[in-house]
């Protein structure tokens, strides 16, 4: 396999983890987020900085997940007092605050970003080979997919489905709505942090621009395109929106037009996404 194809596959795997992580909050629990790239970024910077300080990859990878989850908790506690489109605005604000923070802190390298992030090291050996890195991403993704199915069919998954469908009734069933919504954001942030860690050590260089609104919208598009709440859908959405720009590269001048046109066509002809059951409007502008 050519290096180029391996590179595309690695990006697909990383964005698949990211799309699946957003699918937890948006798809399972019905909480719209327009700031998911912030979690991706927090994971990337955390992991990059920890390895630059000389700690090992497993420590950096684990801390990326945990620290991002904690920041997810910090967002969830105030943000979940509002819902639907108001929640979307709060998460949008969160995304902007985080990206401005990356831009201005000294430790994150400001607008220049973080340079010279060490590669992944496993058992003391640096992992430079692309097939090896793809395998690592594949393992993380495989583990994630398995845990997503387990989660979806668990008691927690049922509580989330109930909240997504009708949160007032969920409270009649004795479900702690606030607690489960918070949990959805925290788990979602955790996995986004892990994706960020993989990304940082793969590219060896990160800057604030990568983790802005543009990326948040792209991740949300992956979930919506694939089908909100669907696990294969999120995978497919991530694959399509990562591969498509590559395929359209020869038509670079028209790429954004084709890309935008496809998304509009999707919304008109199949608003529930390729494999999903819910339309985005059902989660966004629910009848109140």
């Amino acid at each position: 396999m050519s290096v180029y194809i391996l590179h595309v596959l690695i990006m697909v795997a990383i964005f698949a983890v990211l799309a699946l992580s957003l699918n937890i909050s948006v798809g399972f629990a019905g909480l719209v987020s327009l700031g998911h790239a912030a979690f991706f970024g927090i994971g990337a910077y955390t992991s990059g900085l920890i390895m630059i300080k000389g700690l090992s990859f497993p420590v950096a990878f684990g801390s990326a997940g945990i620290i991002t989850a904690l920041l997810g908790l910090a967002l969830a506690l105030p943000a979940l007092r509002v819902k639907d489109d108001y929640l979307a605005i709060v998460t949008l604000g969160f995304g902007i605050i985080v990206s401005i923070t990356f831009m201005n802190l000294e430790i994150t390298g400001g607008p220049d970003g973080l340079v010279g992030i060490p590669p992944v090291t496993l058992w003391g050996n640096p992992l430079y080979s692309k097939p090896g890195f793809l395998l690592l991403c594949g393992v993380v993704l495989g583990f994630m997919i398995a845990s997503m199915y387990t989660l979806k069919n668990s008691k927690i998954g049922r509580a989330w489905a109930a909240i997504r469908d009708n949160d007032v009734t969920a409270s009649f069933m004795g479900i702690n709505i606030y607690g489960y919504k918070t949990l959805a954001i925290v788990v979602s942030a955790f996995w986004a942090g892990l994706a960020g860690s993989l990304y940082a050590h793969y590219t060896a260089y990160i800057n604030p621009h990568t983790f802005g609104l543009h990326t948040s919208i792209m991740i949300l598009s992956m979930v919506v395109l694939g089908g909100i709440g669907s696990i294969p859908g999120a995978l497919l959405g991530a694959a399509l929106l990562t591969v498509l720009p590559e395929v359209l590269r020869p038509l670079a001048d028209y790429q954004d037009i084709i890309y935008g046109g496809l998304l509009v066509a999707m919304m008109v002809f199949r608003p529930q996404g390729i494999m999903g059951r819910f339309k985005i409007t059902e989660i966004f502008g629910r009848a109140r």
Binding site: R158, A159, A162, D165, T169, A170, F172, M173, G174
Partner: protein, 242 residues
Amino acid sequence: MLQVRNLHTYYGHIHAVKGVSLHVNPGEIVALIGGNGAGKSTILRAISGIVHASSGEIVWGESEITHLSSERILKRGIGHVPEGRRLFRGLSVRDNLVLGAYSRKDRDKVKKDLTAMEALFPILGQRRRQLSGTLSGGEQQMLAIARTLMARPKLLLLDEPSMGLAPIMVSQIYEKIKELNRIEGLSILLVEQNARMALGLAQRGYVVETGRMVMEGQTPELKASNEIQRAYLGKGYREVWE
């Protein structure tokens, strides 16, 4: 078994329930009748903890439950079938029933109860995999009741089970309610605008007007009262449609 004393609730500045007292004895069906906006549903919501009581007390068995969370109250054995059914419309009939048992830990018994519930309401067994939003109104009401029963309540708060249903469905639902009361010994606090049906089923009744209890008694007495006949049973119009 349930004692409500001098209950007051507010929605913002609106004083919805103004000092209501009522009680339900074990195995009893009690009806709460009254017009639109009288505060009947609010009384039920305050009992199940969905709405906060600003003063007064609600005693369940031996202990006070006035300020407990709705989860706790459900666990203690008070189940609430909300007005307008409020199903999880995007989920299957089976998932709705499973969610009804959310507060329970005894998984094996939940499985048995699922089977029992489908025996009690055979239509729910036939429609197991169907999305609940696609059921007919009467089937949805049966599902809403069955879902709450999955929590194994000792007292069922039933809010307007006849709302928006064809008369034949209403009688079927009322038959089921009667059966649950007679066979399982379930106590029921029933809120209804359809006073004729409610008083036909209940042993005792309360009449609520603008947040206050205006009358209470055994159903035969209530049915005989001139006041009730005029206001709720449409005396004088009866001959026209019957």
